[in-house]
Subunit: 237 residues, 2 copies
DNA sequence: CGGTAGATTGACCAAGCTCAACTCACGTGG
DNA sequence: CCACGTGAGTTGAGCTTGGTCAATCTACCG
């Protein structure tokens, strides 16, 4: 019954049984991907909508110089490309971090579902607005926060998202992101990320090893990051 | 008769007369704002959709430390908040740069228009996707480009947008952004922006003084910035 | 037991920031 | 018509954050 995508959308709208069935139908046949596989590459013509049901992925772009910038992390329940189908081609790539289970929703199936179930359309719309807020918060971090603030901020963001989708017990979560990936998300080098993580550990705010994150002192982490949860829109209409 | 907003949307869809009339009706009574006036403040409950018909504005957020990060520039024809109405409150502010003429579209008028004119909905949707691509490009710049690349990239982006909406003759445009505003958009200080602009002028790529920008050597500027026009989606389906 | 990917460390370097002064264009009141 | 005020642009000197390069360590795996 259900999956993380459906659970997430249920946080944005009350669905009746026919809507739940429609959502289950379109996500019934996920495909398994290995770790570090590109789901979509920049320049591809837009295909079906992808929905990550299990595992982690990220949107990224590589520059001519070969450096990479990650623009968003996709956690279980997140959709890749609700609407990119309207554009001529992808302007970035998407790659898995871990092994992942990804559902594929064809464009016509998606259009039909949205047309016949407006509440689903609304919920997906809200999900996208939240994603956009996250993009803007990322810009703020990259532009105006120091590296320790950036790292703390990202950790908090991911943690709050994990809590919201039930992937955390409230103080611990799996964080399967190598330091090089964190670096490419935060516009830093992995060397520097490493030093900052040590600083955060020393400060007693977090524990992090072998892919397990433990928020030891949420208040301290929040303080360090200057975090403002508003952009995640916890309070929805 | 139209206005810059309608002109822009016409680039994304072919409208019939009734659609054009609908668009004209909702933008028929713009309001005039002075320079440096907040149109919307963070925390406000979402109001009507705002459409900038003339003048420049930007989205921004100020941090606890008092620094400011600008996340997007709004040029004539750009809409502020197509859908933010679904969320509980604004997660950023919007301020004019120059004097501006801004149309206000009430939520119900907007909903009715979108419902009865699907091509308008599609066009506005595409406009939003392009904006999102611009957000992502901004992230790439802030994360992985050097300061001169960032400045060159922003100038090119604004220039191409100006060309597209007919605000440039192909080599010259008004660029009414003080260096401090450029700095807050690019995550730099105005001192450093100043030095970089001098470097760009010295290199012969641009001329910029008193709010007038002249692209003297587009190829050089493109080369410096590592610009890839793909994200602006010049080729639309 | 070697092999590999990721994490860690140290020494050095440089892009970009801070602070503070100064200039320039422009608008205002006398 | 000119002195003055103001906001933006410009410059210089010194410093800090975070990058570079290269070596080392560690966990895990076939």
């Amino acid at each position: 019954m259900g999956n993380r995508f459906i659970e997430k959308l249920r946080g944005f709208a009350d669905f009746d049984n026919s809507e739940l069935r429609a959502l289950e139908r379109v996500t019934a046949h996920p495909k398994a991907y290995g770790a570090r596989k590109d789901l979509i590459r920049e320049g591809d013509p837009p295909g079906p909508v992808l929905v990550v049901l299990e595992g982690w992925a990220f949107r990224y772009k590589v520059l001519p110089s070969g450096t990479r910038q990650i623009m968003a992390f996709l956690m279980p329940g997140d959709a890749c490309d609700l609407h990119i189908g309207m554009l001529a081609e992808m302007d970035h790539s998407i790659q898995t971090v871990t092994r992942a289970s990804v559902a594929t929703i064809g464009r016509t199936a998606m259009d039909e579902m949205l047309a016949s179930h407006p509440r689903i359309a609304t919920a997906m719309y809200i999900a996208q607005l939240v994603d956009e807020g996250t993009l803007r918060a990322w810009i703020v971090s990259l532009g105006r926060r120091s590296s320790i603030e950036r790292v703390a901020h990202l950790i908090l963001e991911l943690f709050l998202r994990a809590v919201r989708i039930g992937l955390s017990d409230g103080s611990t979560m799996e964080l399967p992101l190598p330091q090089a990936v964190l670096a490419d998300a935060l516009g830093m080098t992995s060397v520097h990320i490493n030093r900052i993580l040590q600083e955060l550990r020393r400060s007693g705010a977090i524990e992090l090893s072998r892919g397990m994150l433990h928020i030891k002192d949420p208040a301290a982490l929040t303080y360090i990051s200057g975090f403002d949860a508003n952009y995640l829109h916890k309070r929805l209409k």
